[in-house]
């Protein structure tokens, strides 16, 4: 595989978890809830997915466990923020802390009971017959895990649903005017809870992807801030799906280029921390250049119903 194909393929590979978690968070933010605990949800997905895979050997069970773990923690978030109306940002930090503690404790408990941990992925790359044999395009686009193709369908589905259906209209309206939705007979809390659970499922799946399809391992700090990048990407994409996709691909490309250049002799003299810092620095600069506060849902982060102080 030549350099351009390698970089393009790695771009997609790195963008998948960002896109997966980002789609869920985007839907949740459109309904007016912001969950900065996405990082923790992804980490929990990593742990649940990897541990289940190591114990059972079943890929489907691993993915299911990761999604379930994400949904459960997101349910806790919804309970505290939507039903009990606590501050969403601070609850998100608590969720991160909780996820860090839970995963580290669970990992300590089972680590020694796992037999072999190396290279046990049951997931195989699905080469689409015919298309995957095309030169350059084949290996780049049509030799990925099933989850990646499913993500493509999910993106298409969410895009269509948000834009063209009544449910999508409600989801979008919830973020700007929950009062109006309530007046129109929409159960605001149920819809928001649903969106948050969807975001939890997506983040859990993204975690499973990281642990069982990308690295084949688990470590307590393995998400390394990707969940926070997801939050930035949603803002970066101005709460639209095409914007999110563009942002995620940009970051995937950054990651792929970093991998490519790290292998070169010249780059070995640059400490790896410089490469690790890059995505955060670029995100911050991009947000600064974009003047990003505009365009978000008007009631983002505000509990409903609002208090009259």
């Amino acid at each position: 595989m030549d350099a351009s194909a390698f970089i393009t393929q790695q771009t997609l590979t790195a963008a998948v978890p960002l896109l997966l978690a980002g789609t869920g968070e985007l839907v949740a933010e459109r309904t007016g809830t912001i969950n900065i605990g996405i990082e923790g949800l992804m980490l929990t997905g990593c742990a649940a997915g990897y541990i289940t895979l190591a114990l059972t050997g079943s890929g489907a069970l691993a993915l299911g466990a990761a999604v379930l773990a994400g949904v459960l923690l997101a349910g806790l978030f919804a309970l505290v923020c939507v039903w009990w109306r606590a501050d969403q940002i601070v609850t998100g930090t608590a969720l991160n802390l909780l996820a860090m503690g839970l995963t580290a404790t669970a990992w300590m408990a089972v680590q020694n009971h796992l037999a072999t941990t190396a290279s046990l992925s049951p997931f195989t790359r699905l080469a689409i017959p015919g298309l995957s044999e095309l030169p350059w395009i084949g290996p780049v686009l049509f030799q990925h895990y099933t989850l990646t193709y499913l993500l493509g369908l999910l993106l298409l589905g969410v895009w269509f649903k948000l834009r063209y259906t009544r449910a999508g209209l409600i989801l979008r309206a919830l973020g700007d005017s929950p009062d109006a939705c309530a007046a129109a007979g929409v159960n605001v809390r149920l819809w928001r809870t649903g969106a948050l659970l969807f975001a939890g499922a997506c983040a859990g799946a993204a975690g499973a992807y990281l642990a069982t399809m990308r690295t084949f391992s688990f470590s307590p700090d393995m998400t390394g801030g990707q969940g926070f990048l997801v939050l930035a990407l949603v803002i970066f994409g101005r709460w639209t799906l095409p914007g999110l996709i563009a942002g995620a691909l940009l970051f995937g490309a950054l990651d792929a280029l970093q991998q490519y250049f790290q292998g070169m002799p010249l780059a070995r003299q640059i400490p790896y921390q410089a490469f690790k810092m890059l995505p955060y620095l670029v995100t911050l600069l991009a947000l600064a250049l974009l003047k990003s506060k505009r365009g978000g849902p008007a009631k983002l982060g505000t509990p409903w119903p609002e208090d009259r102080a």
Partner: protein, 345 residues
């Protein structure tokens, strides 16, 4: 006095419930609850050394709690205490090891800690500037700055700050005369503990007795009303980030000067811990003092659970406790506030 008693009830209920829930969870996992409690008490209170260690843990917890508390009270969600503390420790070590390696402690320590405050404050100023001029939300910029600070630390430990004497990426170890003096021999109890308690008392005085303290509180409670009353809301939000970052920077500096004596990449989690301390202390300096004391004792006890060969409970348990306490305090205070509002109507 009745007001203070009422303020204490919620945190006490929350602490009791959370500890019971965590203990029940551990019991379900098969750990013996009685053994956990006795081992924990032994580790936290069992000896003067243990108590001293708890007080040493209390020190950065108090400072990061003040950092988060002062910002939250003013309505500025500074999630970047972690990064600001890292910058503080970098500033402290850089000044002492590169700038004045032979200066006596009574000159080097105040200057170094002052520089740590400055570095932490300026790092927070980046977020304030990005918010004011480029409309980047403080929540997001402070989180991103945490990661930038973390990798900056790694970068510096590979380069200018790295000690030539070690193979691991560490900074040079502070000489004995540049460390914080000990209060008790044979323990780790350093003088910083007294300093941070004085700082908390001063913070309380400023908050309750000065115009600045009143304005900060007003901006947090209702920025629109504060603006109508003629308060410079935007400027106060910058002030509060500077203060918050300063507290955080001092936390990072004091930890190096009194406990670790060199810089490494070991994670500290001051940011999240500070939020737990601030909320449990209900954003009040004296409450934060008590909350930091509680978490210091808790952390010290849990650290001994990990070392107990019969239990081997990972110290990450305190993260779970902190996360649950944050959520419970949020729900509890939101409920109290609404009850007060209803009572007024």
């Amino acid at each position: 006095m009745g007001k203070y008693l009422q303020t204490l009830i919620l945190p006490l209920i929350v602490i009791t419930l959370c500890l019971l829930v965590v203990l029940a969870g551990l019991a379900l996992l098969g750990y013996p609850p009685v053994a956990i409690v006795t081992s924990w008490c032994e580790g936290a209170f069992g000896s003067p050394r243990a108590l001293a260690a708890a007080l040493v843990k209390f020190c950065p917890l108090l400072l990061s709690g003040l950092a988060a508390g002062v910002a939250f009270r003013c309505g500025v969600l500074n999630i970047g205490v972690e990064g600001q503390a890292i910058l503080g420790s970098i500033g402290f070590v850089a000044l002492l090891t590169l700038g004045m390696p032979t200066a006596p402690g009574w000159i080097a320590l105040p200057l170094g800690l002052g520089f740590a405050i400055l570095c932490g404050g300026l790092w927070a100023m980046l977020a304030a500037g990005l918010d004011r001029w480029r409309q980047v939300p403080v929540v997001l910029s402070t989180i991103l700055l945490n990661f930038i600070a973390l990798h900056l630390l790694g970068l510096l430990l590979q380069g200018p700050l790295r000690s030539p004497l070690t193979t691991a990426p560490h900074s040079a170890v502070l000489p004995t005369f540049q460390r914080l003096p000990l209060l008790m021999t044979n323990t780790s109890l350093h003088i910083g503990v007294v300093v941070v308690v004085i700082i908390a008392l001063v913070a309380w005085l400023i908050q309750s007795r000065t115009t600045l303290g009143f304005e900060l509180k007003a901006c947090g409670l209702n920025p629109n009303a504060a603006a109508v009353a003629g308060m410079p809301v935007a400027r106060r939000q910058v002030t509060v980030l500077l203060l918050s970052g300063g507290f955080a920077g001092l936390a990072g500096g004091i930890q190096v000067a009194g406990v670790s004596f060199f810089l490494s990449e070991a994670p500290t989690n001051y940011g999240y811990a500070g939020i737990a301390v601030a909320l449990l202390g209900r954003l009040h300096p004296l409450g934060i003092l008590l909350a930091a004391l509680f978490f210091g004792v808790l952390d010290q006890g849990v650290a001994s659970l990990e070392k107990d060969p019969a239990l081997r409970i990972p110290h990450d348990l305190t993260d779970i406790v902190k996360g649950v306490i944050i959520m419970a305090m949020l729900v509890g205070s939101a409920w109290l506030l609404r009850r007060q509002l209803q009572a007024r109507e």
